[in-house]
Symmetry: C2
Subunit: 245 residues, 2 copies
């Protein structure tokens, strides 16, 4: 199983070897989505559950006048559409940022694994609840922080999420977003994102070039961004359910 996915599932609670094997067994079908193409589109009724194994994607919403928002990012280990059990159709699109490798799970098989492996069910529930908490923080970020702090916050969040699935290397990580992507995700214009990033660089808070992010002093960036990590719920809150094998 991909390491990122495994780390992701175990952020909430440690799984047993059987839990992992059962989950791994349903990861049979995968699909490659080219960069900048939709994984699923608004209005679609997905027939299977998509799970990002490699690459980045974004949840996007579009206005009739053409304005587009990126309302969330998906990194390896993130589920695209666990909701298909309940909601009939997608109310937003999921679009690949980079070339993307996604697993396509059969709902029946996933249901079956969840019934026999309650720790996996809990891990998926945790996944969804954290996704909602992240969404609330994004709302707050757009509503309350000015451009400089807003971008700083977004960078810290993405760095910490990458780190939580083992995809950082010291103080750096891959960062495939263009400034245009950042603009659509932060509610700013590309021009202003550019100038704001320059200010962050000038202040020695981030280095960002060639699809690579470096954060020389994470603690300082966290303070500047007024970043409170509590909403990521990364502190292993399901420890009491840990498998002990």
């Amino acid at each position: 199983m991909e390491l990122a996915l495994l780390k992701r599932l175990e952020l909430f609670t440690r799984l047993s070897a059987q839990d992992k094997a059962a989950f791994d067994a349903i990861l049979t079908r995968t699909r490659i989505v080219p960069a900048r193409r939709d994984v699923i589109s608004e209005g679609d009724r997905p027939t299977h559950v998509n799970l990002v194994l490699r690459g980045w994607a974004a949840r996007t919403k579009m206005l009739p006048d053409g304005r587009r928002s990126l309302v969330g990012f998906l990194i390896p280990g993130d589920f695209c559409d666990l909701n298909i059990y309940i909601l009939r159709q997608m109310d937003h699109s999921i679009s690949a940022i980079t070339a993307l490798k996604v697993a396509q799970l059969e709902p029946e098989q996933l249901t079956c694994v969840m019934e026999r492996h309650p720790r996996i069910t809990q891990a998926l529930l945790w996944h969804e609840l954290v996704a909602t908490a992240v969404q609330r923080e994004w709302t707050h970020n757009l509503g309350a922080r000015p451009a400089y702090e807003r971008l700083a916050h977004l960078l810290v969040e993405l760095f910490l999420r990458m780190r939580s699935v083992g995809l950082t290397y010291g103080d750096s990580c891959d960062f495939p977003l263009t400034q245009y992507d950042l603009a659509e995700a932060s509610g700013l214009t590309p021009v202003h994102v550019n100038r704001t990033l320059q200010a962050l660089r000038a202040d020695g808070l981030v280095e960002l070039e060639r699809k690579r992010l470096v954060i020389p002093d994470l603690q300082r960036l966290i303070e500047v961004a007024m970043f409170n990590p509590n909403y990521l719920h990364l502190d292993h809150e399901g420890a009491h359910l840990d498998a002990n094998d």
Copy 2:
């Protein structure tokens, strides 16, 4: 059982008489929270599930520099903290807008009802998924719409949500938010909210005074707001699970 709550539960699927009775039976303890006081605060570890029976509340997040956001509104029938099964502590506060009547459910009792009444489980899952979808739309609203359309969108959403639980009267409904509340919810300043509301009134799109909202021509406001109702998932998507008694 309160009518709003009943309508809320049945937005997804029709419940049987037994479903309703079982749920009603655990609605024993209620609490009155005065206006402008917290129902739960960030960092709390709630011991029971809170459910709004009467009045309005808001989910709030605070920055260290004092700026506050309202990142969501709760109206009758909304659950405050279904997530306590998984997440240990609140990453935001819930604050009463009006005097509030909330039911306090025992988690064990709720679990018990969910195990025996799958339609209720589904209705609660639906509730959470729609809450997440609403949160995404708020992010989009703040990121993509200018003040005029943004406020229009917020008003349409609240009106439709009130209507879905039977709390509108023709083209009007209670609307206890102050312009200061609207400012914190829309990422604007109270002064600008005031001027923008005046513009909406001047254009005949809304009447808003004395805690009462009137929308003379909903269709027109929907168009102005570029409002797409799909994210509210109000079209009875669980019809195939309906109880038929």
